[in-house]
Symmetry: D3
Subunit: 191 residues, 6 copies
């Protein structure tokens, strides 16, 4: 278990390249910090969806949010433009192999972690889709916080908020849209 | 919900003062990065403890690990020396009030979050104690990673590893001690 | 004396949390850098006040400005929101005790330092009030410099400049207001 | 031409992940800084090789050194471990396509740049091999400089210096080996 | 040669003071990163000028761009205001002596490097003038990239773009002006 | 007065090049932070010297310590090696002119500030010599703090501590030497 814990420390320092490549200073956001944000967002989304009557396995949501970026300790945080140059599957299968290796020393839980990772990557379940929505929302909340402090040039990140398509059941879709709408409203009030 | 998500973004930048005050460069570890590390460690500890036959509510473990440092957005990351100058209760009750305010806009889940926070602070449950152990282990894994890269002057952090007392049932205590022992071994092999 | 000098080195790295929590990058301003700014401002204010005919003990002004933030090596730079959660006196008395301990090894001057610290905290004297004005002016000059470089979202810092109340005698009040007015003018000319 | 110049600015901020993943602080070395170091080293190696009587096209050496990492603006600085998870060709062909796109707006010189990039990647020429040697030497000089300042845990980088195999003609090989030997000597004298 | 390579590593960390003094965060641009940008720009300018029919020694251009800032390892990156306080020649001759010392151990190429440095400083040749134009263009492309990300207060840098006078032959002047004009256009479209 | 305060903000960000050029990360120490350290050290030295019976004008000591590095906003923090390449007087007179310009808008106190600056630069007085000793001691305390955290390669800074010659009267010399001796002792106990 220790080897995995030591390796995952690296995510605390690894910068999210999306910000760096847009000219924001190093120290803006580490992969570990982003994962924390995704966990928080996913937990709140799941709790709200559940409160409105839809069945959600919150434990799965939390676990998936927590581990969805671990492969980056070995593969790095590839910028979005990279996907244009790798075959669609090349990146996914590279990350899946990296993930499998990272958790290899974890003990009996490792097959569960691999199964969760696969669920997140393929997203058949409500839980995986909620985590994906949380991934996007945390990105946008960070973009909003940066813009409020004076950052500019982040428009392209916001396109995803115009027509989100997370393939969620109606009730869950509504919760996600409420958050996105209030975020867009908050953004329009900057300055 | 959005106001809380925006506020918690702050933890992504807030430096852990323990490193700064010992001369390590800014960017060493944010509070959000540390929280991520505690979540990872807590999940693995809980899964291992469960695999050995003890009943653990892993969902509670994950939730508690995720939210245990949220109060720092309002109270800051007080250095350890600060506790010497505030009455023992002053800090705890300040953080509890701050936490209660932070989650005020969260909706129906807010009372659950407050209850989890209280459980963590008072630590009557196995789950809270496991999260505390994870909090210490993530600190030490970070210290180890820094020392391996050349950092010095961190001895005082390691004292806690000599005689850990997390008040855990034997089975769980054993898991925690195995991790601590292999960590001490890894440390002794540096250089 | 050396132990105190070593401990105060920590202020050179300790970030002012006010900027960090508003999304500005680490490295914006250390507590030591701010103390330097307060000393400079306090000296210039005191010299100008004196030139206009009011008696001021400039040496006391300089000493007080220099030592007013030393307690932060042990208590940290608590964010403004923290005061909402600690009893008004709790923070003051914690910082006073921390200060007393920090200068404990200084030799014969330590009682003078403690007396100066007390004067600053309680602010009965003209000198202490001038240092408080300098503390606020340096904050605003820093905010202005950041805004001129593109930072946004700092409006709340400027509220204090609208109706400053440093309880200064008329002549000193005038000097402070002239600086604040020209600062507000400079700010309105950004962009 | 301008679009390419703007895009290449990104390399000034992009951290070399090799250092980050080993716990060194952000700001250690940008990709652009490293490219500068490779250019300097390649020029000196080529000039020395030429002075000893071997024919070298120094202009080609300089051009190749300058552009060998441009693809990273789109693909990122993938950590070494990443190569384990992508098919050997996948990364090379992704980087080649990214490079081709980056220089697309450059005008008449773009086909020359693409040809130089291909030469570097396939390394049939003396010039390409010298640049590869310069790439490794700059990495090691940086590692040496970091170790001299206190960094530890960089041993694995030095393995390549034990048995370098750049497939250089004897005269060039000798120049490269002299530099590597004096570097190893300098390293052994640290502390 | 190694001593020179080690010394030039310093340029990878040395901040360009122009940005720091205008309130931009450390990490914005190192001297080495800027040198990389000047090399890239100079190569593209020279290639374009050559493609339009003017004879240019591209190898000289590349070498000069690469070494034009080496003296800063010993003299530092003096801010523009410094020139006001040193006699015009004092700085030039200090940098020339520093450069001469830096390359002292380089071997047979050192006299060529010194001659190139002299050419750049006195700028009699087309090549030196192109490198100077590249130096200014890289500065402005960096300024543009910063402004696009939200930086403000950089107007004074742009004055040089209004009436550039690099004393270039008409064909080369045209190439430089096309780049500057499209840069000014891009700037006017920010926000 | 405001223009001067705004200009001096720059010292909060300006890195001390001595550390940068030795491979320590940016953020290690700003010029303003160092000035703070010199003020603190100078005050404590002066108070101790006075307590032992020597007459010292502590106000002058504080003022001189505070303003001794202001010229760096315009001339930069020139590395030690730079002095080798500028005529001894060139740097001093450049800094003196820069200082005179910086305080030009300060009002009636400006001639006093210029006189203090001259005293510090020429060092005829006990006060100026104490500030110089404080300048060196703060440098060494910072070096000690860095070494305790793992930094290496700083030996050359310590040479000055072997045979300090501040031309102080015996009583003051003794105080300074006691601090230096205990600092050397503390250093020898690292690790």
């Amino acid at each position: 278990m220790l080897a995995t814990l030591i390796e995952l420390q690296r995510l605390k320092r690894l910068e999210r390249t999306g910000w760096t490549l847009r000219g924001l200073p190093n120290g803006t956001e580490s992969v570990a910090s982003h994962s924390f944000g995704v966990c928080v967002t996913a937990m709140m989304l799941a709790d709200e969806v559940k409160a409105r009557g839809l069945e959600v396995n919150c434990e799965r949501v939390l676990r998936m949010a927590l581990l969805h970026d671990w492969a980056e300790t070995r593969v790095g945080d590839m910028p979005k433009t990279a996907t244009r140059y790798f075959a669609a599957d090349a990146r996914k299968s590279a990350e899946a192999s990296a993930f499998a290796d990272i958790v290899d020393g974890v003990g009996s839980a490792k097959s569960e972690y691999r199964e969760l990772y696969k669920d997140y990557e393929e997203r058949p379940s409500l839980e995986a889709r909620l985590v994906k929505a949380a991934d996007v929302i945390d990105l946008l909340v960070q973009a909003y916080a940066l813009e409020r402090s004076g950052a500019r040039g982040l428009d392209e990140f916001w396109q995803v908020a115009q027509q989100p398509d997370f393939k969620l059941p109606q009730l869950a879709d509504q919760v996600v849209n409420e958050v996105l709408q209030s975020l867009l409203r908050a953004r329009s009030e900057i300055e």
